[in-house]
Symmetry: C2
Subunit: 189 residues, 2 copies
Protein backbone atom coordinates (compact mmCIF):
# COMPACT_ATOMS: atom_id res chain seq x y z
CA UNK A 1 0.00 0.00 0.00
CA UNK A 2 1.71 3.26 -1.06
CA UNK A 3 1.75 5.99 1.52
CA UNK A 4 -0.59 8.97 1.49
CA UNK A 5 0.32 11.38 -1.28
CA UNK A 6 -1.06 14.88 -0.74
CA UNK A 7 -0.10 15.82 -4.27
CA UNK A 8 -2.14 13.01 -5.80
CA UNK A 9 -5.13 13.97 -3.67
CA UNK A 10 -4.76 17.58 -4.76
CA UNK A 11 -4.49 16.65 -8.45
CA UNK A 12 -7.61 14.51 -8.23
CA UNK A 13 -9.53 17.24 -6.44
CA UNK A 14 -8.50 19.92 -8.94
CA UNK A 15 -9.45 17.70 -11.88
CA UNK A 16 -12.81 16.89 -10.30
CA UNK A 17 -13.65 20.55 -9.61
CA UNK A 18 -12.74 21.55 -13.17
CA UNK A 19 -14.91 18.81 -14.63
CA UNK A 20 -17.84 19.54 -12.31
CA UNK A 21 -17.77 23.18 -13.42
CA UNK A 22 -17.38 22.30 -17.10
CA UNK A 23 -19.84 19.45 -17.47
CA UNK A 24 -22.11 19.71 -14.44
CA UNK A 25 -21.68 17.50 -11.36
CA UNK A 26 -24.24 14.89 -12.45
CA UNK A 27 -22.48 14.25 -15.78
CA UNK A 28 -18.99 13.60 -14.45
CA UNK A 29 -17.70 10.06 -13.83
CA UNK A 30 -14.87 8.94 -11.57
CA UNK A 31 -13.15 7.54 -14.69
CA UNK A 32 -13.11 11.03 -16.22
CA UNK A 33 -11.66 12.55 -13.06
CA UNK A 34 -8.92 9.93 -12.94
CA UNK A 35 -8.11 10.38 -16.63
CA UNK A 36 -7.89 14.15 -16.42
CA UNK A 37 -5.60 14.00 -13.40
CA UNK A 38 -3.36 11.40 -15.07
CA UNK A 39 -4.02 8.92 -12.27
CA UNK A 40 -6.05 5.71 -12.02
CA UNK A 41 -9.54 5.01 -10.68
CA UNK A 42 -7.88 2.87 -8.05
CA UNK A 43 -5.85 5.84 -6.87
CA UNK A 44 -9.04 7.93 -6.75
CA UNK A 45 -10.63 5.30 -4.47
CA UNK A 46 -7.73 5.58 -2.07
CA UNK A 47 -8.57 9.24 -1.36
CA UNK A 48 -12.31 9.54 -1.93
CA UNK A 49 -15.26 7.25 -1.34
CA UNK A 50 -17.02 8.66 -4.43
CA UNK A 51 -17.21 11.87 -6.45
CA UNK A 52 -19.49 13.46 -3.85
CA UNK A 53 -16.74 12.98 -1.28
CA UNK A 54 -14.48 15.38 -3.23
CA UNK A 55 -16.85 18.20 -2.27
CA UNK A 56 -18.17 17.05 1.11
CA UNK A 57 -15.27 15.36 2.91
CA UNK A 58 -14.72 18.45 5.08
CA UNK A 59 -18.34 19.28 5.71
CA UNK A 60 -19.15 15.67 6.65
CA UNK A 61 -17.10 16.35 9.77
CA UNK A 62 -19.12 19.45 10.59
CA UNK A 63 -21.64 17.87 13.01
CA UNK A 64 -18.89 16.40 15.21
CA UNK A 65 -16.70 19.48 14.90
CA UNK A 66 -19.53 21.78 16.06
CA UNK A 67 -20.77 19.47 18.82
CA UNK A 68 -17.25 19.24 20.25
CA UNK A 69 -16.88 23.01 20.09
CA UNK A 70 -20.15 23.41 22.06
CA UNK A 71 -18.94 20.94 24.68
CA UNK A 72 -15.73 22.96 25.11
CA UNK A 73 -17.56 26.30 25.54
CA UNK A 74 -17.28 28.07 28.92
CA UNK A 75 -20.14 26.80 31.14
CA UNK A 76 -20.77 30.38 32.28
CA UNK A 77 -21.93 31.39 28.79
CA UNK A 78 -25.63 31.46 27.94
CA UNK A 79 -26.69 28.75 25.44
CA UNK A 80 -26.78 31.28 22.59
CA UNK A 81 -23.35 32.66 23.49
CA UNK A 82 -21.98 29.13 23.72
CA UNK A 83 -23.48 28.39 20.32
CA UNK A 84 -21.92 31.41 18.60
CA UNK A 85 -18.58 30.78 20.30
CA UNK A 86 -18.69 27.18 19.10
CA UNK A 87 -19.49 28.25 15.53
CA UNK A 88 -16.53 30.65 15.54
CA UNK A 89 -14.25 27.98 17.08
CA UNK A 90 -15.18 25.40 14.48
CA UNK A 91 -14.92 28.06 11.77
CA UNK A 92 -11.35 28.84 12.79
CA UNK A 93 -10.44 25.19 12.18
CA UNK A 94 -12.55 24.64 9.07
CA UNK A 95 -11.83 27.91 7.25
CA UNK A 96 -8.22 27.33 6.16
CA UNK A 97 -9.11 23.79 4.97
CA UNK A 98 -12.03 24.76 2.78
CA UNK A 99 -10.87 28.23 1.66
CA UNK A 100 -9.04 27.20 -1.54
CA UNK A 101 -12.15 25.66 -3.11
CA UNK A 102 -14.98 27.49 -1.36
CA UNK A 103 -16.04 29.65 -4.30
CA UNK A 104 -16.01 26.87 -6.91
CA UNK A 105 -17.67 24.48 -4.50
CA UNK A 106 -20.60 26.84 -3.93
CA UNK A 107 -20.94 27.36 -7.68
CA UNK A 108 -21.07 23.61 -8.31
CA UNK A 109 -23.65 23.05 -5.58
CA UNK A 110 -25.80 25.97 -6.79
CA UNK A 111 -26.11 24.26 -10.19
CA UNK A 112 -27.04 20.81 -8.85
CA UNK A 113 -30.38 20.01 -7.19
CA UNK A 114 -28.88 16.69 -6.04
CA UNK A 115 -26.07 18.46 -4.20
CA UNK A 116 -28.43 21.04 -2.75
CA UNK A 117 -30.44 18.21 -1.27
CA UNK A 118 -27.21 16.71 0.14
CA UNK A 119 -26.45 20.07 1.67
CA UNK A 120 -29.85 20.23 3.35
CA UNK A 121 -29.44 16.69 4.70
CA UNK A 122 -26.04 17.67 6.06
CA UNK A 123 -27.43 20.74 7.82
CA UNK A 124 -30.20 18.63 9.36
CA UNK A 125 -27.44 16.42 10.82
CA UNK A 126 -25.62 19.52 12.07
CA UNK A 127 -28.79 20.74 13.80
CA UNK A 128 -29.31 17.35 15.48
CA UNK A 129 -25.73 17.29 16.75
CA UNK A 130 -25.95 20.86 18.08
CA UNK A 131 -29.29 20.19 19.71
CA UNK A 132 -28.01 17.11 21.56
CA UNK A 133 -24.95 18.95 22.80
CA UNK A 134 -26.94 21.99 23.98
CA UNK A 135 -29.28 19.62 25.84
CA UNK A 136 -26.29 17.90 27.47
CA UNK A 137 -25.10 21.37 28.47
CA UNK A 138 -28.38 22.00 30.33
CA UNK A 139 -30.88 23.52 27.87
CA UNK A 140 -34.42 22.22 27.69
CA UNK A 141 -34.59 19.87 24.67
CA UNK A 142 -37.20 22.07 22.96
CA UNK A 143 -35.10 25.22 23.43
CA UNK A 144 -32.00 23.34 22.34
CA UNK A 145 -33.72 22.29 19.10
CA UNK A 146 -34.76 25.88 18.39
CA UNK A 147 -31.28 27.25 19.10
CA UNK A 148 -29.67 24.50 17.04
CA UNK A 149 -31.76 25.48 14.00
CA UNK A 150 -30.86 29.10 14.65
CA UNK A 151 -27.19 28.08 14.88
CA UNK A 152 -27.45 26.49 11.43
CA UNK A 153 -28.97 29.72 10.09
CA UNK A 154 -26.11 31.75 11.60
CA UNK A 155 -23.54 29.31 10.23
CA UNK A 156 -24.95 29.41 6.71
CA UNK A 157 -25.16 33.19 6.69
CA UNK A 158 -21.65 33.70 8.06
CA UNK A 159 -20.23 31.06 5.73
CA UNK A 160 -21.84 32.61 2.65
CA UNK A 161 -20.59 36.06 3.50
CA UNK A 162 -17.12 34.69 3.94
CA UNK A 163 -17.28 33.00 0.53
CA UNK A 164 -18.62 36.24 -1.00
CA UNK A 165 -15.50 38.11 0.09
CA UNK A 166 -12.57 35.68 0.40
CA UNK A 167 -10.12 38.55 0.94
CA UNK A 168 -12.19 40.00 3.80
CA UNK A 169 -12.51 38.68 7.35
CA UNK A 170 -11.74 35.06 8.22
CA UNK A 171 -14.55 32.52 8.63
CA UNK A 172 -14.57 32.70 12.43
CA UNK A 173 -15.05 36.49 12.34
CA UNK A 174 -17.85 36.19 9.75
CA UNK A 175 -19.67 33.67 11.95
CA UNK A 176 -19.30 35.87 15.03
CA UNK A 177 -20.63 38.84 13.03
CA UNK A 178 -23.65 36.89 11.84
CA UNK A 179 -24.40 35.90 15.44
CA UNK A 180 -24.11 39.51 16.62
CA UNK A 181 -26.32 40.69 13.76
CA UNK A 182 -29.02 38.23 14.74
CA UNK A 183 -28.81 39.32 18.38
CA UNK A 184 -29.22 42.96 17.25
CA UNK A 185 -32.13 42.17 14.95
CA UNK A 186 -33.96 40.29 17.69
CA UNK A 187 -33.26 42.84 20.44
CA UNK A 188 -34.05 46.08 18.57
CA UNK A 189 -37.38 47.69 19.44
Amino acid sequence: MPRWDAQAEERLRTAAIELFLQLGYENVTVAQIAERSGLTRRTFSRYFADKRDVLFADSDRLPDLLAEAVSRADPALTPFEALVTALADAGAMLGPQVAPLAVQRREIIARSPELQERGRTKFAAVARALSEELTRRGSEPATAALLADVGVAVFRTGFNRWVDDPDGSDLAACLREAGAELADAVAQH
Copy 2:
Protein backbone atom coordinates in the same frame (compact mmCIF):
# COMPACT_ATOMS: atom_id res chain seq x y z
CA MET B 1 -67.64 17.19 -14.55
CA PRO B 2 -69.21 16.44 -11.15
CA ARG B 3 -69.00 19.20 -8.58
CA TRP B 4 -66.51 19.25 -5.70
CA ASP B 5 -67.44 16.73 -3.03
CA ALA B 6 -65.84 17.44 0.33
CA GLN B 7 -66.95 14.04 1.58
CA ALA B 8 -65.15 12.22 -1.23
CA GLU B 9 -62.01 14.22 -0.57
CA GLU B 10 -62.23 13.40 3.11
CA ARG B 11 -62.75 9.67 2.47
CA LEU B 12 -59.75 9.57 0.16
CA ARG B 13 -57.60 11.42 2.65
CA THR B 14 -58.59 9.19 5.55
CA ALA B 15 -57.93 6.05 3.49
CA ALA B 16 -54.54 7.37 2.40
CA ILE B 17 -53.46 8.25 5.94
CA GLU B 18 -54.52 4.85 7.27
CA LEU B 19 -52.59 3.08 4.51
CA PHE B 20 -49.48 5.25 4.91
CA LEU B 21 -49.40 4.42 8.62
CA GLN B 22 -50.05 0.70 8.04
CA LEU B 23 -47.78 0.00 5.09
CA GLY B 24 -45.34 2.91 4.99
CA TYR B 25 -45.74 5.83 2.60
CA GLU B 26 -43.39 4.41 -0.06
CA ASN B 27 -45.36 1.17 -0.36
CA VAL B 28 -48.83 2.64 -0.90
CA THR B 29 -50.27 3.09 -4.40
CA VAL B 30 -53.03 5.43 -5.51
CA ALA B 31 -55.00 2.33 -6.60
CA GLN B 32 -54.93 1.05 -3.01
CA ILE B 33 -56.09 4.40 -1.66
CA ALA B 34 -58.97 4.49 -4.13
CA GLU B 35 -59.96 0.91 -3.38
CA ARG B 36 -59.95 1.39 0.39
CA SER B 37 -62.06 4.53 0.14
CA GLY B 38 -64.55 2.80 -2.20
CA LEU B 39 -63.87 5.38 -4.93
CA THR B 40 -62.02 5.28 -8.24
CA ARG B 41 -58.52 6.36 -9.22
CA ARG B 42 -60.14 8.93 -11.46
CA THR B 43 -61.93 10.44 -8.48
CA PHE B 44 -58.63 10.52 -6.59
CA SER B 45 -57.07 12.49 -9.45
CA ARG B 46 -59.82 15.07 -9.19
CA TYR B 47 -58.74 16.00 -5.65
CA PHE B 48 -55.03 15.22 -5.49
CA ALA B 49 -52.16 15.48 -7.99
CA ASP B 50 -50.51 12.39 -6.44
CA LYS B 51 -50.26 10.59 -3.12
CA ARG B 52 -47.75 13.16 -1.84
CA ASP B 53 -50.37 15.84 -2.37
CA VAL B 54 -52.59 14.21 0.29
CA LEU B 55 -50.03 15.22 2.90
CA PHE B 56 -48.59 18.42 1.43
CA ALA B 57 -51.48 20.28 -0.21
CA ASP B 58 -51.72 22.68 2.74
CA SER B 59 -48.01 23.17 3.30
CA ASP B 60 -47.37 23.80 -0.40
CA ARG B 61 -49.21 27.06 0.15
CA LEU B 62 -46.98 27.97 3.10
CA PRO B 63 -44.42 30.12 1.21
CA ASP B 64 -47.13 32.37 -0.26
CA LEU B 65 -49.15 32.41 2.94
CA LEU B 66 -46.15 33.56 4.99
CA ALA B 67 -44.89 36.07 2.43
CA GLU B 68 -48.32 37.68 2.27
CA ALA B 69 -48.48 37.81 6.05
CA VAL B 70 -45.10 39.61 6.15
CA SER B 71 -46.30 42.12 3.56
CA ARG B 72 -49.37 42.86 5.72
CA ALA B 73 -47.34 43.43 8.90
CA ASP B 74 -47.31 46.92 10.43
CA PRO B 75 -44.40 48.88 8.83
CA ALA B 76 -43.51 50.23 12.28
CA LEU B 77 -42.50 46.76 13.48
CA THR B 78 -38.83 45.69 13.41
CA PRO B 79 -38.07 42.96 10.85
CA PHE B 80 -37.99 40.29 13.56
CA GLU B 81 -41.28 41.49 15.07
CA ALA B 82 -42.84 41.55 11.59
CA LEU B 83 -41.58 38.02 11.03
CA VAL B 84 -43.04 36.62 14.25
CA THR B 85 -46.32 38.47 13.69
CA ALA B 86 -46.48 37.00 10.18
CA LEU B 87 -45.83 33.48 11.47
CA ALA B 88 -48.62 33.85 14.01
CA ASP B 89 -50.96 35.32 11.38
CA ALA B 90 -50.34 32.49 8.94
CA GLY B 91 -50.59 29.98 11.80
CA ALA B 92 -54.03 31.28 12.70
CA MET B 93 -55.20 30.45 9.16
CA LEU B 94 -53.31 27.21 8.73
CA GLY B 95 -53.91 25.67 12.15
CA PRO B 96 -57.60 24.77 11.87
CA GLN B 97 -57.01 23.27 8.40
CA VAL B 98 -54.15 20.98 9.35
CA ALA B 99 -55.15 20.18 12.94
CA PRO B 100 -57.23 17.04 12.24
CA LEU B 101 -54.31 15.18 10.66
CA ALA B 102 -51.28 16.89 12.19
CA VAL B 103 -50.26 14.05 14.51
CA GLN B 104 -50.60 11.26 11.94
CA ARG B 105 -48.94 13.37 9.29
CA ARG B 106 -45.87 13.95 11.44
CA GLU B 107 -45.69 10.22 12.21
CA ILE B 108 -45.82 9.33 8.50
CA ILE B 109 -43.13 11.86 7.60
CA ALA B 110 -40.86 10.74 10.46
CA ARG B 111 -40.85 7.21 9.00
CA SER B 112 -40.07 8.24 5.41
CA PRO B 113 -36.69 9.64 4.30
CA GLU B 114 -38.30 10.65 1.00
CA LEU B 115 -40.90 12.78 2.78
CA GLN B 116 -38.33 14.26 5.14
CA GLU B 117 -36.40 15.42 2.09
CA ARG B 118 -39.63 16.90 0.66
CA GLY B 119 -40.12 18.71 3.94
CA ARG B 120 -36.63 20.20 3.80
CA THR B 121 -37.16 21.32 0.20
CA LYS B 122 -40.41 22.93 1.27
CA PHE B 123 -38.77 24.83 4.12
CA ALA B 124 -36.05 26.05 1.74
CA ALA B 125 -38.84 27.51 -0.41
CA VAL B 126 -40.42 29.08 2.68
CA ALA B 127 -37.09 30.69 3.61
CA ARG B 128 -36.67 32.09 0.08
CA ALA B 129 -40.18 33.58 0.12
CA LEU B 130 -39.68 35.13 3.57
CA SER B 131 -36.29 36.51 2.60
CA GLU B 132 -37.65 38.21 -0.53
CA GLU B 133 -40.52 39.75 1.38
CA LEU B 134 -38.30 41.03 4.21
CA THR B 135 -36.01 42.58 1.59
CA ARG B 136 -38.98 44.24 -0.09
CA ARG B 137 -39.91 45.56 3.33
CA GLY B 138 -36.52 47.26 3.65
CA SER B 139 -34.06 44.78 5.22
CA GLU B 140 -30.62 44.29 3.73
CA PRO B 141 -30.75 41.09 1.61
CA ALA B 142 -28.10 39.40 3.79
CA THR B 143 -29.99 40.22 7.00
CA ALA B 144 -33.26 39.19 5.38
CA ALA B 145 -31.78 35.78 4.48
CA LEU B 146 -30.59 35.26 8.04
CA LEU B 147 -33.93 36.28 9.56
CA ALA B 148 -35.80 34.12 7.06
CA ASP B 149 -33.84 31.03 8.13
CA VAL B 150 -34.48 31.99 11.75
CA GLY B 151 -38.18 32.36 10.91
CA VAL B 152 -38.22 28.81 9.59
CA ALA B 153 -36.58 27.62 12.82
CA VAL B 154 -39.23 29.44 14.88
CA PHE B 155 -42.01 28.03 12.69
CA ARG B 156 -40.79 24.45 12.97
CA THR B 157 -40.34 24.70 16.73
CA GLY B 158 -43.74 26.30 17.32
CA PHE B 159 -45.45 23.87 14.95
CA ASN B 160 -43.91 20.83 16.62
CA ARG B 161 -44.92 21.98 20.08
CA TRP B 162 -48.44 22.54 18.87
CA VAL B 163 -48.56 19.01 17.42
CA ASP B 164 -47.13 17.63 20.70
CA ASP B 165 -50.05 19.04 22.63
CA PRO B 166 -53.10 19.33 20.38
CA ASP B 167 -55.34 20.23 23.34
CA GLY B 168 -53.05 23.06 24.44
CA SER B 169 -52.61 26.48 22.82
CA ASP B 170 -53.53 27.15 19.21
CA LEU B 171 -50.87 27.19 16.51
CA ALA B 172 -50.64 31.00 16.39
CA ALA B 173 -49.92 31.15 20.15
CA CYS B 174 -47.29 28.39 19.89
CA LEU B 175 -45.53 30.29 17.12
CA ARG B 176 -45.58 33.53 19.10
CA GLU B 177 -44.20 31.67 22.14
CA ALA B 178 -41.35 30.17 20.11
CA GLY B 179 -40.48 33.66 18.81
CA ALA B 180 -40.50 35.10 22.34
CA GLU B 181 -38.38 32.22 23.61
CA LEU B 182 -35.78 32.85 20.94
CA ALA B 183 -35.71 36.56 21.77
CA ASP B 184 -35.16 35.66 25.45
CA ALA B 185 -32.41 33.15 24.68
CA VAL B 186 -30.56 35.65 22.50
CA ALA B 187 -30.98 38.60 24.89
CA GLN B 188 -30.08 36.92 28.18
CA HIS B 189 -26.61 37.70 29.57
